[in-house]
Amino acid sequence: MDLSGRFGARSGDGVPFREAAALESLHIGGGEEFRQMVPPENAGGFAALLELPPTQAVELLHSSSSSASQATTLHSLGTLSFPSNPLLMERASRFSVIATDNQQNGNVSGETTTTSSVPSNEHIKTEPAETETCDQAAVEKQSNRCGKRKELDKKVKSSTKKKNKSSEENEKLPYVHVRARRGQATDSHSLAERARREKINARMKLLQELVPGCDKIQGTALVLDEIINHVQSLQRQVEMLSMRLASVNPRIDFNLDTILASENGSLMDGSFNGATMQLAWPLQVMETEQSYHHRQLQQPPSQQWPFDGLNQPVWGREENQDHGNDHNNLMVGSTSLHPNQVKMEL
């Protein structure tokens, strides 16, 4: 039978090959009645198979599932890249989509829907990679096809909602190249919407990395929850810190900051390290306290200010007022300092 001859040549010819394959499957699996039924609908070929009432299709498929050639038939179907018949393509795509859905496959076979205006040629390389998934899919397809025919449409819809990698987005170009996935509409609206969704997902990923503890969470709503909590906690922290700073002696914060401002003006090296500032302050810091200050400075790594050196002069002045002249020489040296003097020394 010359069909078998054609069947041997598995090179993706398009419709006639498909028909041959379909006929071949019928030939192997079924009895006479099937063969008689199908040929008049040969024009549809594969589509004709789909037209069959479900029960018969089920029997057909089950009987044919055992033979290895079936697998190869469908495998060859999978390798077709740009079939000419859109209708067949649609049906085949739906089936393959179903199969990949059931398998939880990350890669959807990236064949384009066949409106010729749409497909971009960027993804030709990915197709050979994706045919491998089609192999797996193919074997599964037959067993899955039976129960799923009635849920075709819904499966298509759910696959459209899946997040897949087959559409790419190039943000640098003025045009966004988005590849339509199988079984999806290809009008400009849905394409634009899909591009927009991809953008949102990319940004959400960045957010997830930024906010601690968001990587493990699945689902947009929960991630957004975490983000909201994080922002609120940061805002509350700012309030707490400003409250703490305000409750510290007022002279400290405002004076310190003027001192720091002047200091910052002069030390524009960029490195915010206390090290550079320590060098600038040896005059003001007494010997006995210098070691103490250094110790203090090294302890908290985040805080790198020689505030200790700064605090001394300020507190020194206050102590002066409180204790009169009963001073240790701890305070004596520092009392001579004055913020203005500090500035001049800088």
């Binding site: 759910s158 940004r203 959400m204």
Partner: protein, 195 residues
């Protein structure tokens, strides 16, 4: 993206500039007023880091301008202050009752399949969360689309983190300073009593 040291430096400088404006007013203030002054100047400093490029920074500056116009004017350079303060952001007003009623009507006409219902619920939840996010991020109500909202949130979180880091280090230092005072006071007393 984590806060960089240059960002922290800039923030600190601007914050101090703002605090200096309050310096003549130190004596009359209570704790709460000082806190407010600190917070406002910190906020304006954080927002001015972005120099008006982001939506949240503009909204934040406008918000603080309602509380303390003088501070904002002083802290920002002249031209920008005028444009930022006077410009009114377009308000996206939606009359909630009307929106709710029309949504109810739409819902009645929609088909209800199991999967669609689940998806619709998920979408509703996400919408609620994004609304919550808009409430938290300054100027969120004015961001028309979600992409912009998420971008702004990213930037806002990074800026908030710099603000918190710098403020925390200053507070720690200031409080450590007060501890050292106690330490020195103790030392003093000891020295006085002993010697």
């Amino acid at each position: 993206m984590q806060p960089t040291s240059s960002m922290k430096e800039e923030f600190l400088k601007k914050w101090q500039m703002g605090l200096q404006i309050y310096r003549p007013l130190i004596d009359n203030t209570s704790v709460s007023e000082r806190r407010k002054a600190i917070k406002l100047s910190a906020d304006v400093a954080m927002a001015s880091l972005r120099k008006g490029t982001t939506c949240w920074s503009r909204a934040l500056i406008q918000k603080t301008a309602t509380e303390d116009n003088f501070l904002v004017r002083q802290m920002l350079s002249g031209i920008k202050a005028e444009t930022l303060i006077n410009k009114k952001l377009p308000k996206v007003m939606c009359h909630r009752k009307i929106v709710r009623r029309s949504k109810k009507i739409l819902r009645r006409r929609q088909s209800r399949s199991a999967i669609e219902e689940v998806a619709a619920k998920a979408r509703k939840l996400v919408k609620k969360k994004t609304q919550g996010l808009r409430n938290v991020v300054p100027g969120g109500e004015f961001m028309s689309n979600d992409v912009l909202l998420i971008q702004e949130t990213l930037d806002y979180i990074v800026s908030l983190q710099t603000q918190v880091n710098v403020m925390r280090s200053i507070v720690d230092a200031a409080e450590a300073g007060s501890e050292r005072t106690a330490y020195y006071l103790g030392k003093l007393k000891f020295a006085i009593e002993d010697g």
